[in-house]
């Protein structure tokens, strides 16, 4: 069985600084992978590399067996990779409905503008902003904008969906709603990679955990195991803390 997403020794450098360093990773269809790591670890860069926004400077990326390392980002989107942005980026002066329709029209296989608009209305309902379809996107509150981002991505009928810090700025009730929605999306057959720094959130929905630190992959496995990995604790809390909490050597 071919993996859905396969990264082979992928690196991405910016003027000598290695944001991503030799990362190899395999994601199978149906997984919900939590991608975690301290600030600046390279999580968003990794998403940018896979989606083609910031192509890899070394290594290869495969989607469904197909090499997409050098493919243009709009083509990768059409091949089934969608992502949400940390800082939400709608088309401000277009309506909510039009925003979602764009996803359907340009990647989601909608046959016409009318078809795309119809699908947009359905999806808006699904994510809970169904009564806002005629509002200009720039007027939405943050929580609703996040829903819009999700709806836009879903309109693309993705195989693989990157959720980049979807919970930033949300209150606990809103986060719970978001998690329920993510589960539903996963159940509908979309493979999800969640970038999140709220541990409890990530642990509650991920089937697998991957940890990045200084651009390198330092842990990859079942959530319960990864959280107990000393290297992970070190990455988040620093060497001294880990050693101190271990107490005098036994």
């Amino acid at each position: 069985m071919t993996a859905l997403l396969k990264l082979d020794g992928v690196s991405r450098s910016f003027k000598g600084l290695r944001a991503i360093d030799n990362v190899s990773l395999t994601v199978n269809a149906g997984e919900i992978v939590g991608l975690i790591g301290p600030n600046g670890a390279g999580k968003t860069t990794l998403v940018n590399v896979v989606t083609g926004m910031s192509p890899a400077t070394a290594g290869r990326v495969h989607l469904d067996g197909r090499d997409i390392t050098r493919v243009a980002p709009n083509r990768i989107a059409q091949l089934g990779v969608a992502r949400t942005f940390q800082i939400v980026q709608p088309f401000p002066r277009m309506t909510v409905g039009e925003n979602i329709a764009a996803g359907a029209l340009f990647s989601g296989g909608a046959r016409s503008l009318a078809d795309a608009r119809a699908r947009a209305r359905e999806l808006a309902q699904q994510v809970g902003i169904g009564d806002l379809t005629d509002q200009p996107a720039e007027m939405l509150t943050l929580a609703r904008r996040k829903r819009l981002e999700l709806a836009k991505s879903l309109a693309m009928r993705p195989k693989l969906l990157f959720l980049d810090e979807v919970n930033a700025g949300l209150n606990p009730a809103e986060i719970d709603e978001a998690l329920k929605m993510i589960s539903k999306v996963a159940q509908s057959g979309v493979t999800i990679i969640v970038i999140e720094h709220l541990m409890k959130v990530v642990l509650s929905i991920s089937t697998r955990l991957v940890v990045l630190h200084h651009g390198q992959l330092i842990a990859d496995g079942l959530p319960q195991e990864v959280v107990r990995d000393p290297r992970v604790a070190e990455a988040y809390l620093g060497k001294r803390y880990v050693e101190a909490s271990r107490g005098p050597s036994s």
Partner: protein
Amino acid sequence: MRTAIILVIGAALFAALLLLGSNYAIRFATIFAMYATLALSWNFIGGLAGYPSFATAAFFGLGSYASAILQSSGIPMLMAWPIGGLFTAVFAAVIGLAILHLKGHYFAIASLALVEFLRELVNINDQLTGGGMGLNLPVAHAGVTQQALFFLAAMLAVTIVTLLAAVVVSRRKIGFALRCIQQNEDAAIMLGVNARWYKAAAFTLSALFPGVAGGIYASWVHYIDPSDVFDILLSVKPLVMVLLGGLGTLFGPVIGAAVFLVLEEAVWRSFLTVHAAVLGLLIVALVLFLPNGLMAIGRRRRRASQA
């Protein structure tokens, strides 16, 4: 719909103007048709896609010279015009590859430089183009009024075709894509929009019709020279007309062209020498007080009354 009412009134005035039959009226109408075409064309790249192009004069001039040179090689006028237009469109598509990845100011300057570059190039290659001495075009053997009406019809035909193209673009995927690109190009790409292709298409459209119009213009005035057809004002005026009428709207360019030209005629008659200064003042006032154009005035009032 407000727009429909304005257009019906406009068309009625237009017809009345023609019925007057005076050559002055016909001439004015022809210029209107020409500028309406230029404004509508600019709207594809400047209004819809949001790329501030100053290249309209380059395309107009190129079309003028291409068609004039073709005619002096024996090709009949009615064939030279579309071929000149096509040549200009291909030129735009090729140049687009080099400059459409630029944003904002850089793109604007590149498009501006295009005008200057082509003008000087035409000036230098005087063997082919007559250089600074200009190029003469064959005069038809027909009455003055007949000729005037003929060229009006030709210009108007191009305007109508351009308008139709604008309608089609606005209704279909390409219009939608351009609007997405204009509001957030990166997000659009991530959604699957092939921005490069759509921008190139918009740029080519913004060149095709001015190219043809340039050819018709050359035949109409029977004589062209580089500073005449590669005049930067031919880039700026259509732009201002679109701003006046409403950026990115469908009929805004046409309405803006009409209002602008009427204003210009009025000013020209009273302020001959300071004509350019008044144009400058108009532009400044427009940008400062009416950035969304005339169409927005009603909208603002309506929204205020609903509040």
